[in-house]
Assembly symmetry: D2
Homo-oligomer: 359 residues x 4
């Protein structure tokens, strides 16, 4: 079971050279695994602060005693890759040991361009490790570990795989594995070496894994491959586009500032200043059993979030959009009921789904 | 387990004097149980032909060798209770042994007025048994076995109880039990006497029941009582009204001819003559994974049906309506996308749900 | 799904020419289906009374108005096939329309020889239908519908298939289907013609089946075919032999009077007259959570039954036998603890299981 | 849900003053959580090496940079508490920061006396923290966190709670929480402070927990409290005693050297030198689907282990013992089949279970 899973799970990262680890932990633990196995206390990292989840990862990096070079952007903007380019250009001494980036910032609905990060590093022939949080992107957004030269990529079981929480999936490039040999960050539970030792022995596990989650991963991968990974990604693109059309029709603004950063897994919507977005989230849940995302931290009260990743189809999305419309009206925003649904369904009705329906 | 179930299941029929039977069978078997335990071959029954399910029950009555006095209506009309009144008035010799009526005709979305049936029988002091198919009504529509003097009422596990198929739930009045003592229809598997014998012994079952379905029934009743049976019925009323408003907004006609017959569990929609309703059902399933009901028999190709019973909430219904709109457009009907959703959600948004949301 | 199930389910009957029906009912309903589709009121049947389940079937035959020629044996003996031979020999007028026999009488642990029944019928070229209750035999004992010329065979989902109760599986030979065209027994729910009509249409179901049980049947058949039907039968033979060796070791007598009738799915054990077997069953359940079978009717208080069919392995059986030993001692029978387990495990340890273990 | 769980889970530790943490990790992670939150690199710990699991914990302590004072015993002996007493007596400077002990060493079936550890610390008024691995003891063996003055106790979801792997349950005394304020071990994922922050906010989780495991824990605790925690412990005592009697009857030796250390959750059995215990484990699984434990590390090939913790009853244990007997005979050990079962069942049959059976 594990042997096949380790082989098949590489496909969701689009890697053939990577080594995956199925760690009984959450996304936070997967972050810690990525960092402590490849870096040493005091190492300089460049990390982008663009929303709540990138903030938390930076906080972890600081608490793990790395020297974090924080590149901040507006919440709603993508990672400032020009700033990255400058820093990389200047760093001829190669003091930067890793570039850490969240592929998709769930708090603001921003997707960063990983290919550009790789281009910058290559342009300056900079050896920094390239560490990517793919929690809300992998299996939903276009992700190419090998092509983009990503050194550590990670996700969690409870996002696009639609499994229960409890498994952090981390994938390390050969360069990352090499780095782990000299990285001096203290680690035991998260230590890749223990895994690698048991991989060699063929018993695979340094401690008891959750058999249930392993069978779950098997089923999730089978469903994914049956639909086709590229079809799954195209489905996310299509549903996200429909969502954004609805937001436009409501006359509301996307928190994401430019089209190039639009996220196909979550849309953060800015509400007028006279409305508290938390009230929208509260009413949606209480009155319609609809689970929206709160605005977090800097955007608290200002945005609410519509998630559209994982096992979702057209009608579930349209039902959700209809619910948002009713809640917007409930809280006093002058929306025309049906307007968002109309815009979204006009798009959906005119575009062919790439996948055949399944029973 | 069984003892409590037998006590609690009476509540869904609103009866205190009835005796319930939980039979390992389907709705068709429940019909057979109702008829063979109370009637003898050759007995005259009055039965109303108003759609496919009433047709099938009449067919069963005929094959079981009863003398069926069929009262036919247009498909889309309710049972002709004036005709019933005449027959009952004329039948001073009491040759009519039973009035058999489908409470809610699923094929046409027609709900019959059971209280009126009782009034007619009472007015003429006619002793005919009153047998009611409540398959698509009980636990979803207002149903009062004792108040309306119903002698046998029946439903199935897979309808408003949202359980798997496999349990026919039949409830007999004291008068029906009395009739079973002299009814000569041949029956063994469906014989109430075998059940009654084991009820007395306290072992309850003449043959092995499905323990799984009994636990399922326990859970379904608990959910029902937690929400409140009257709240469940009000929820069905509310969602059905929203559905009918959407149909109006689309410019389509309800198959149900008069408001008094509108069904709160299913809406049958008439399509223009240039459209084949079966194509709507096929595309809804194939393209949007949306399960609509076909037009059956006389209304084949002419109507499609939207079911709205059981475990359903506002957003699921609105998602379904959005799907119907897209399919209507797909097949060439000039619908304004969003129009039905707008009409339905305007109603839903302005009316307070009677039940608090649950996690 | 249904199409493949109907094809695959024939394998458990070892028939290629039979037509299977998957009826939402219990074993009792399957009996009724077998009888009412092939016989007419007043038809003469020969039926063997050898225990509680054959008794119940005879009762059903009588209530369905057949003229039942009952051949009685001691409880513990097999069907009296000499008596059958005489009756068949004498019946040159072919008044006997069907021979009805329970393959394995669960109440006494008796397996009847179906091949001999066929030989008798063939020897006298008698056209009687051959109807077999295979509820506690099919998928566990050697059963050959085509080879033994069985006209209707039936089983239930909850026996050797280890599924929940709720599906009666009936298989009819071409001769039985032919008989159904003229059989005048009243039937609707159980009528094969309704099934056959929908088989032709390709929609398969005259009424809503339990999808859950159909998926269950799919899984049960897959498990069965993976182990191999013949291996499954050999496993039952092996575990039954071990059980009988334990009974011998305890110094108790098998209720089954001759070795030729020993059942490989259930062993009925006679207790000394000073012990009430019901007390054994009660204590086994209360003290050890062990479910034994009561002695029924004529053998009430005199026998208890050890079931060994379905999904059972060596250690589960030995645990059960150890439990029986403790209960026997509890109720005052002078058993040597461990003696039955020793006898059974000596046999099991020295014989090679035919099947590899599975995870 | 979480609020009630945090309250109820304290009962399994028998603490009222402790603070529990439900961490999405395994036992290994729970160890790391206990150590890094209370200790700083360089801190001196006393730790007992008595088998494979204590060895692994010591390895973790060393890799986390503590100064581990290892007290080694024979594998099969308990922790050397005399040595502890000497060290504590000598340590008037209080250089020992923590005593780390595995309550039940799973590899050798040894249970250590925690009350004595507390007595030693109290006798010398030594302030060392008292950290206990209760993975294979809590909910199965007598465990009293408050009474024995334990500072951190921990277990995992997959042991006596019979849940899937994935939740480390750690409970900290007020003194441990105090220590966490100054402990400088680097930690983020395992940091109690993050939990405590969210406890105060009433949102409870610093990152996404597994809802499924939380519901599972609710169900496991309900079952435990329904049986009664003390009854559960008594059941383990009773089944363990029966197991040891079987081992005696087979003429084999318990790996545990003295009765005071006998474990009531696992029995390690020494095989004669001419037998490879791994072969016993292999055959038990392959031939009888029986899962025994391998001898680990120093006792590899020399012992096999019978686990008897969690949801287990008499007959399951006896079936397992019968299986062991057959395997012993298979590998050439001259055991009398039935002898162990006889010894065990004689004990079980003569002692009254403390708990009523349940359905």
């Amino acid at each position: 079971l594990t042997k096949n899973l380790l082989e098949d799970v590489k496909k969701i990262f689009k890697t053939t050279s990577g080594t995956p680890f199925l760690i009984p932990t959450t996304g936070t633990g997967a972050w810690e695994s990525a960092l402590t196995n490849t870096l040493s206390p005091g190492d300089r990292t460049v990390s982008f602060l663009i929303g709540q989840f990138s903030l938390l990862w930076i906080d972890q990096q600081q608490r793990l005693k790395f020297n974090v070079d924080v590149v901040e952007s507006d919440w709603g903007a993508g990672a400032d890759l020009d700033a990255l380019a400058s820093k990389i250009a200047e760093d001829t001494a190669h003091t930067i040991k890793a570039v850490c980036i969240v592929h998709n910032e769930t708090a603001t609905g921003v997707t960063n361009n990983l290919a550009t990060v790789r281009k910058i590093l290559d342009h300056y022939q900079h050896p920094a490790l390239f560490l990517v949080d793919g929690v809300s992107s992998i299996c939903a957004l276009d992700f190419r570990m090998d092509e983009w030269g990503i050194d550590v990529a990670l996700t969690g079981s409870q996002k696009a795989l639609s499994l229960p929480t409890g498994m952090g999936i981390v994938c390390a490039s050969p360069k990352a594995l090499e780095a782990s040999k000299t990285a001096t960050s203290v680690r035991v539970f998260f230590d890749w070496n223990d895994y690698l030792k048991f991989y060699k022995l063929g018993s695979y596990w340094p401690y008891t894994p959750s058999i249930q989650l392993l069978y779950g991963l098997r089923a999730a991968l089978d469903l994914l491959f049956e639909e086709g990974l590229d079809n799954v990604i195209a489905r996310h693109t299509r549903l996200a586009k429909a969502t954004r059309l609805a937001v436009d029709a409501w006359g509301l603004k996307n928190c994401t500032q430019k089209e190039e950063w639009f996220s196909d897994t979550v849309t953060a919507v800015i509400v007028p200043s006279y409305i508290d977005s938390a009230e929208i989230v509260r009413r949606a849940w209480k009155r319609y059993n609809l689970s929206l995302g709160l605005g977090l931290n800097k955007v608290a009260g200002k945005v609410f979030r519509i998630g559209h990743l994982g096992n979702l189809n057209e009608l579930q999305l349209l039902g959700c959009l209809a619910g948002v419309e009713m809640v917007l009206k409930d809280v006093g925003y002058p929306v025309t009921l049906g307007s968002g649904v109309a815009a979204a369904s006009a798009f959906l009705q005119n575009t062919t789904p790439l996948i055949p329906s399944r029973i």
